[in-house]
Amino acid sequence: MPDTAVADIKPLNRAQMAARVARDIPEGWYVNLGIGIPTAVADHVPLEREVIFHSENGVLGMGPAPPKDQIDPWLINAGKQYVTLRNGGSFCHHADSFSMIRGGHLDLCVLGAFQVAESGDIANWATSENDTAPAVGGAMDLAAGAKRLWVLMEHTTKDGTSKLVHRCSYPLTAVGAVKRVYTNLAVIDVTERGFVVLDMAPGLTFEALQARTDAKLHRGDQ
């Protein structure tokens, strides 16, 4: 194993991972953030950089979570958390809301995932074929519909199993949909030749990253 520098690697924590994604979202994009770590991305986009956040339940232009004493019980996001609405935000019904998603009007969707394959396949809704009460929500619509799908997830499971794979073993959410993966270890584009590493956590070498990754990685500077 060429993994000689384990002690020096500084994997990103969750806040840093969310901030890393936020850095890459330009003003003016319409963005849907999935449940879990992706939701935190919004906290790292400054309000003066106007990014318009969409939620499946008919909310466009979400702002930050309200202080506890200013909660509006009628205003939740798809994760059922209380949110606020920015000036310029609006409400619509579910079919119209998913027209935004399915009609290709979102510039970006950021989802969590169990696995991403080098072909861009994503598995993020069920961990086995016989999951009790599988729950897909809007993930398949978002994955198939948004102009860009980025995945934000830990690079490996808790037991060290790679989540970037040659081929997904879990049930798919969408085929060939992922454009980029942000993990605690790296930023990786999904291209025609497979995974291409754009950026790595401090202290990490390409070889060390490959050692933690089942799928073959390509260097971004090639």
Partner: protein
């Protein structure tokens, strides 16, 4: 004089038959027609198919209806919740049928039913379990799956304002599935926070026009945290 406003829950629920498909609005606790669901529990119809985004929480509302053995099948996108014990117990015991549908496909299938579209194509679910066994077709180089309309015998809606012609408005994210199921239901029953005089709702601001509404019951329960 047209007056869709009914005076009590018995009138609101009259005629719902065993075996009905019931569409239920709401997303999370917001915009959920809790009073009407309780009314349905009392009304007694059984062998129901329920289509709703979620599959109930705790032992109240939809979960209670299921616990009483009145729901044969649930069609939803997200059966998980903070407390999905009733659904999961029934599901594991094979006592309830589950049709899991991507959330956007669920909304679009209901909208299609309301709009006279018996089937449509979508990219959602292609290459996944949701696309299995369904017709696939390529248009302009991309593969799509055919989905069928999902009409309801009954639709249960929660509105913010309503008038005697059945015109409705909704409050913020309480809109969600409600206007869509109102279109898709043969018998659309509404509980509303506020009753307005005819003409009081600005005609440019009506979200669900009365043509999609059959009965309106005044249930001024306050906000979704009140349940």
């Amino acid at each position: 004089m047209i007056d869709k406003i009914v005076q009590d829950m018995a009138d609101a629920m009259a005629g719902i038959k065993d075996g009905s498909t019931v569409l239920v609005g709401g997303f999370g606790a917001v915009g959920q027609p809790n009073a009407l669901i309780d009314g349905l529990i009392h009304q007694g119809a059984t062998d129901l198919t329920v289509a709703c985004n979620n599959a109930g929480v705790g032992h109240v509302g939809l979960a209670r209806l299921m616990e009483l053995g009145r729901v044969r099948k649930i069609i939803c996108s997200f059966p998980r919740s903070s407390d999905p014990v009733v659904f999961e117990t029934l599901y594991r015991a094979g006592k309830i049928e589950l049709e899991i549908v991507p959330q956007g496909t669920l909304a679009e299938r209901m909208r299609a039913a309301g709009a006279g579209v018996p089937a449509f194509f979508t990219a959602t679910g292609v290459g996944t379990k949701m696309g299995m066994g369904k017709e696939l077709r390529e248009f302009d180089g991309r593969t799509y799956v055919m989905e069928r309309a999902l009409p309801g015998d009954v639709a249960l809606v929660e509105a913010w304002e309503a008038d005697r012609w059945g015109n409705l408005t909704f409050k913020e994210s309480g809109r969600n599935f409600n206007p869509v199921i109102a279109m898709a239901g043969k018998l659309t029953i509404v509980q509303t926070q506020h009753i307005r005089e005819l003409g009081e709702i600005n005609p440019d601001h009506v979200v669900t026009p009365g043509i999609f509404v059959d009965r309106v019951l005044h249930v001024p329960y306050g906000d979704p945290t009140g349940f």
